[in-house]
Symmetry: C2
Subunit: 249 residues, 2 copies
């Protein structure tokens, strides 16, 4: 038996998120079905990040165990022949049998894209949030600086979660304007439920002047979800990459 | 009566191109229907560029005549409230009654996007062509230089056309690599049927080594469609902008 790690890219538009649910089409569900048909084994993938409905990914990670003698690195090609075109395996490789995509230390990078213009861009409508108003990038950058570091992010966590430990580390938040797009890139060692979308929603409020950058430390300290900004829409979010640290020996 | 000019952006994925046809959903058809419902007049728009099925636009142009007393520049807002979200008016303004979007001198800019990677990018699948092989940018740039200027582009024109005059001027072709994307931007005073897609298809052949850059002058001279490369797929093409020259007094 061997364990195979997949780097999975998908357009989340037509999926009810990653995680398998009865009567809903999910990325995990499609992967399981495709692997079962292809390998004739009862495969169940374990995903690193259970992205929400409508969230996109370039680098989510999944593992599965198989008796197949096909080399792991060839599986990406075989799977891409069988998957719908809104899911594409970017890489497949063998990993140690004790490699677990959720329990291994890692850095995750998320990107949140916002079109800031007079009118929405129809080409980007499924992959960006749209904000009519001009945003103050300088204020957004100053606010973001307060979030970088190790903090209790309870104020930036959806109340619909059972997680008890809400301290996380953000290594960087990069803010840039590219043509008609504001791009917020967040890198950290783990994220609470809806954390990136709440950070994006809060930074957008800062950009519009509704929250001052200097209010961010107080919002963190409050440990109260109602003090932060709204949860920005799912479609603007993309899981860019998950980098495991010294995990694959 | 006044004439109103619209700058129209659309995702061409779900349309059978620009031009109205019976029993097919077209961008022109949706615009006519929306304008008729909104202005209660028998409006028929005239489009600048009759883009093919699946081709996208950020800056196609259409005009229509109306008795409405609503200021032309407000119409973009009103129309965007009523249009499907894959069509968005970027700008509306009054133009002289003799302004015709097809007969006025202009410069058009098209962009052709190609993802060059080991696997397709599912997020970009509807707006890019995918090429598995690595492309030689230097060769593509050298080939493109031969196309810039005033030439008879008959070899780069679909045979399904009745146009007799096949001389056109290309002002520039800009080739750049942005992340996983090769972007070919072409600017000229007019384009023959499928011309940009045949240019893109030919330049991709050059990038793969199937055509040498030095063969381009001979392909132009042959005035024979079969000498150029294939017509690249519609979904990679976007009409970026149409700039009218001294036409709006």
């Amino acid at each position: 038996m061997k364990r195979v790690k997949l780097v999975v890219a998908y357009d989340g538009t037509n999926y009810c998120g990653w995680q398998g649910q009865p009567n809903a089409v999910t990325v995990e569900g499609v992967l399981n079905e495709t692997l079962r048909n292809f390998l004739k084994e009862d495969i169940t993938v374990i995903g690193a990040s259970r992205t929400d409905s409508g969230v996109h990914a370039m680098g989510n990670v999944a593992v599965f165990d198989t008796e197949s003698r096909m080399p792991a690195e060839k599986m990406s090609y075989a799977l891409n022949q069988r998957l719908p075109e809104d899911i594409r395996i970017q890489c497949s490789e063998e990993v140690p049998l004790d490699f677990h995509p959720r329990y291994q230390e890692c850095r995750k990078t998320y990107r949140y894209r916002v079109v800031t213009n007079e009118f929405p861009n129809p080409i980007k409508r499924l992959h960006t949030h749209f904000v009519y108003r001009e945003l103050d990038l300088d204020k957004i950058r100053r606010a973001a600086e307060y979030l970088v570091g190790t903090h209790d992010f309870k104020s930036f966590c959806s109340v619909n979660t059972q997680v008890k430990e809400t301290v996380r580390t953000i290594y960087y938040i990069d803010i840039k304007q590219v043509d008609d797009e504001l791009v917020i890139e967040v890198n950290g060692n783990g994220f609470l439920y809806n954390m990136v979308r709440i950070i994006a929603g809060t930074l957008l409020q800062v950009g519009m002047g509704a929250i001052k950058p200097e209010e961010i430390p107080g919002i963190l300290e409050a440990k109260d979800r109602t003090k932060a900004g709204p949860t920005a829409p799912a479609k603007g979010l993309m899981l860019v990459a998950i980098n495991y640290i010294a995990s694959i020996k």
